[in-house]
């Protein structure tokens, strides 16, 4: 890891100012960024830690919406998001306990790893990603592998998720990395069902619209049994072929519906 300077501001405004300098980068829990810097795939001149900003911590609920501070750890979401059980379970299944004690929701969404868990919840709930300058709809936020709508130096300060009537996340774990080989988040609302898939596609997290339509008409595990996902866009690596991942998307969706009840 190349050396850098380190600052830990106490407010969003001070963090934004600190991030304005050249080659400055935000540091959340460091569970992705520190390993990346060790490999010298990133070499910022300055790290601006967001973990000392009280306004970016914690989970609250009002009017059917769960609000999560951008620097809230996975462990805190798992413990505090009781009003949205599907999300609490997702957070409690990320990585391992030590990763969950440091890693943050803002870092996970900003990183947009194609195998990360949170992007599926954000997309399936139609979340609003709040930054220091604007609000971004989840449908516009994720823009492909490791790509998001965030501008240089923009900070995710909070995430607002409409709480579904029923929801569940099914993760087919890749046991070595502990990330999702395929993960599916199903969220049922009065207005319809949203299904978001992570881990599977070369384009990153995506909504499976055929399943959404089928489940909107009939919210049961069998509703997706006649559907199939085109394997063309799926990821292929030593852990699974395109066809294997395409098949898993369907199986995980069906399991998520069964578990959501």
């Amino acid at each position: 890891m190349y050396d850098f300077s380190f600052v830990k501001p106490g407010t969003v405004a001070d963090a934004v100012t600190a991030l304005a300098s050249e080659d400055a980068q935000a540091l959340g829990g460091g569970q992705t960024l520190i390993p990346t810097m060790k490999q010298r795939l990133a070499s910022p001149a300055k790290l601006v830690s967001l973990t000392g900003i009280a306004d970016m911590q914690g989970v609250s609920q009002s009017g059917g919406v769960l609000s999560i501070g951008g620097a809230t750890t996975h462990a805190a979401v798992s413990a505090q998001a009781g009003g949205f059980a599907g999300l609490a379970a997702l957070a409690g299944g990320i990585g391992d306990p030590a990763v969950r004690n440091r890693g943050t929701i803002g870092g996970s969404l900003a990183n947009n790893d194609p195998a990360a868990c949170y992007p599926s919840a954000a997309l399936a709930t139609g979340a609003t990603i709040v930054t220091n300058t604007r609000e971004i709809a989840a449908d516009d936020f994720f823009q492909g592998l490791f790509e998001t709508a965030l501008d240089e130096g923009e900070i995710i300060t909070a995430v607002h998720m409409p709480i579904p009537e029923a929801s569940n996340y099914q993760k087919f774990e890749q046991p070595a990395s502990r990330f999702a080989l395929v993960g599916v988040f199903v969220a049922k609302y009065a207005s319809g069902v949203r299904v978001a898939v992570t881990g599977a596609s070369e384009g990153g997290v995506f909504r499976w619209s055929e399943a959404e339509a089928a489940l909107g008409a009939n919210f049961s595990p069998d509703a997706v049994s006649g559907l199939s996902v085109a394997p063309g866009d799926m990821i292929e690596d030593l852990h699974g072929s395109k066809a294997y991942r395409a098949h898993l998307v369907k199986v995980m969706t069906s399991r998520a519906v069964a578990a959501a009840g």
């Binding site: 050396d3 540091l27 520190i34 060790k38 391992d96 306990p97 030590a98 990763v99």
Partner: protein, 161 residues
């Protein structure tokens, strides 16, 4: 260089570190607390697990500067005041929860973290909680036994896998 101070195993310590100094390097190289091990340095193995403000973290994946002002606990602070092994350490010895011992400091710290929040875990809880701690010797079975024994439960009930 950044000046920092923290409490490690109940004692105040301070030092000067580079931005990039990892917590594990500060512990091992500056404080000479070499009980915390580096197994992978890629955030995978958990050998470097310590507690920061009461929760388990991978000290190879946290900057020392980020722990400024924190309360840190390492394996060196785990023994009883009279120097005898604490209940977790003793259970690892009694149940052969280690062979080479390289993973053991991290296992003990992860176990302490588990038992603090869940004093009587079942076998599945133990395996889930130790997900991030890799042991290449024991096959985990005796580690799970040791953790259950440390929580005061009957270990004969654990079936071999």
């Amino acid at each position: 260089m950044t000046k920092l101070s923290m409490t490690v195993n109940g004692k105040p310590v301070s030092g000067n570190v580079e931005g990039r100094t990892l917590l594990v390097d500060f512990l091992r190289q500056d404080l000479h607390l070499t009980g915390t091990h580096v197994g992978c340095d890629t955030s995978q193995c958990g050998a470097c697990t310590v507690h920061v403000n009461g929760v388990a973290v991978k000290s190879c994946t946290m900057l020392a500067a980020e722990a400024d002002g924190a309360d840190v606990a390492t394996i060196e602070g785990q023994a009883n005041a009279d120097g005898s092994l604490n209940v977790i350490q003793q259970a690892f010895q009694d149940h052969h929860g280690l062979q080479c011992g390289f993973c053991t400091p991290g296992m003990v710290m992860a176990t302490a973290d588990l038992l603090k929040n869940n004093p009587t875990p079942n076998e599945a809880d133990v395996r889930h909680h130790l997900d991030g701690n890799i042991c290449r010797c024991t096959g985990y079975h005796n580690i799970v036994k040791a953790v259950l024994a440390a929580s005061g439960q009957d270990v004969d009930a654990v079936a071999a896998e």
